[in-house]
Symmetry: C2
Subunit: 372 residues, 2 copies
Amino acid sequence: MSQFRFELEHVDSTTGARAGRWHTPHGVVETPAFMPVGTLGTVKGLLPEQLKRAGAQMLLANTYHLALRPGADVVEQLGGLHQFMNWEGPILTDSGGFQVFSLAKLSKLTDDHVTFRSHIDGSLLELSPEKAISIQEQLGADCIMCLDECPPHDVDKKRLHEAVLRTTAWAARCKEAQKREDQALFGIVQGGIETDLREESAAGLLPLEFPGYAIGGLSVGEDPADMYRTLEFTTPLLPQEKPRYLMGVGRPIDLIEGILRGIDLFDCVMPTRNGRNAMAFTSRGPLKLRNARHKRDPMPLDPDGTTEVGRTYSRGYLRHLFVAGEMLGPILLSWHNIEFYQNLVRNLREAILADNSAEFRADQLAQWGGEL
Amino acid sequence: MSQFRFELEHVDSTTGARAGRWHTPHGVVETPAFMPVGTLGTVKGLLPEQLKRAGAQMLLANTYHLALRPGADVVEQLGGLHQFMNWEGPILTDSGGFQVFSLAKLSKLTDDHVTFRSHIDGSLLELSPEKAISIQEQLGADCIMCLDECPPHDVDKKRLHEAVLRTTAWAARCKEAQKREDQALFGIVQGGIETDLREESAAGLLPLEFPGYAIGGLSVGEDPADMYRTLEFTTPLLPQEKPRYLMGVGRPIDLIEGILRGIDLFDCVMPTRNGRNAMAFTSRGPLKLRNARHKRDPMPLDPDGTTEVGRTYSRGYLRHLFVAGEMLGPILLSWHNIEFYQNLVRNLREAILADNSAEFRADQLAQWGGEL
């Protein structure tokens, strides 16, 4: 019997928002859920226990980065990702494809595989669907991804179509290559913001009966309105009874809009990256902590006290930490922002269960004073 | 009635080691005690709760650094050091003198005051005994220090003598300048490694009846043997019934040797600075975590599991964090090293209470495989 099971608890009657419980070998994830990004086997600056206290249930780690450093074989030898990074809950790894197409210097793309140069030392490497699976099996996450082709958002439709076809063909090879039974392998729907391409992509993947589906190729430079519109016609193409994961998204407002269109899982570096850059999400809107006006500000970071950091540390102290270049500044704001994201998604989940998701969205926008 | 009281619980019958309890406005410090250094109002990379869990009872913050950034008036306006940095326990501030004489570019030294250039922006600043006290009263630590002159360890005896005389004169002015009654002002004994100068310094300070005494001018480049010898003839010059603080010391072995010679309080950046540089103190000796031999090492950092980090994270994972430049490496090793220091001092305290301090020293050296 599969170690994975997705219970759909409730679908909002006025939006597409879903509340569910996803059972994995490392515990249950209450959805919708946001996964903090632990690129290299660590969410930058935070201990696993802090992530747990912030409400994180599941983390994401990047296959491309871990394959380069310390190497998937090293992670495997050190007990696999969970033991390696001391995270007992579920973990998801991406396929490495996104980084190969964005961060690395692409060398050659064929239907068989892609060759690229490492952004660390320039060495020439190769990634194929089979290799992406074997690396992810070494890493040992609960949820793994098919290798997909992620073209830039501004390529022409012909190129976009090629990427869809290649992604479908690669998905079949990934499924064929999978050996471990304790990892849920997701197919990835591509097709940019084109209705017919998304339909073709979904139609190609569905017969492979993946235990869940990801939506890739969004939040890559297109307008948010285009992303929301694309989600609106893409999520209905996916099976109701399986989890849906929107990759690499996004801002708080994007999470709300995605959830209202039927997305269950998200990941994004935004809470941690912005935190390291002295930007805090708060219940009343964003704050830039380096701003001189906070120098003598005794007010707690978040006046509504919805996070541990937000009710404990003054804006003046946080500003001082950033101005003085102290590590604790990035640590505290990363922690705060992740808790902010977790609270948002958990509160929206409650609203879905109460059949109130549309009202939640309106209330939240009013409180933030606009989109956040 | 004074808010400070030093209870001497036991003096070892074969060494000078003392176990005590020092009552302060922010709680009791069980001595001997080691204070982690929170230079700019933060122990680099660590949250107050982590310091507490590591066993730290009292922290040190640096007046010179805080006076430059964010400014003592800013700290005062943000509620004083305890509230500023979210540390409820006792805090000690130094006078700023040590940094003025080492880190800053010294401009002019007179009997009245010292002028220097900020190491941050080169601005010309002035520090006098009165100013050192008023800044420390703004910062609001429990224990504050007289301004002293700290000459380099290799100056001639005449210059060292001048520093002793100036330090004594400045101590009287500091005591005179003190307004707050909730801060214990310590006098600082100077005199290098010279018996007669240390005697003269102590004799000059004792009539001022400070509630505690610090020993300055050690661990500034002299041989450890000279430091131990100096402590041996200096601590007996100080009142038995008052706390004694050895400033800026030191290695684990220095703590043991200092405690066996009657020191109660220590501070040093070593556990955090070494931690940031990938060096860990362990129960079996030091480890350099960047070393390639740890790449696939599944062994926990400290095989004896005496610290939380030491029993949780593998050497292979810690090495990966440092190689990849991840913040979590410095965080975890700083935390581990501070817990190592706290355990050492607490275990030695237990040994003192059992009248076993000499044996503890021998056992510890055997376990470490030499001095640590």
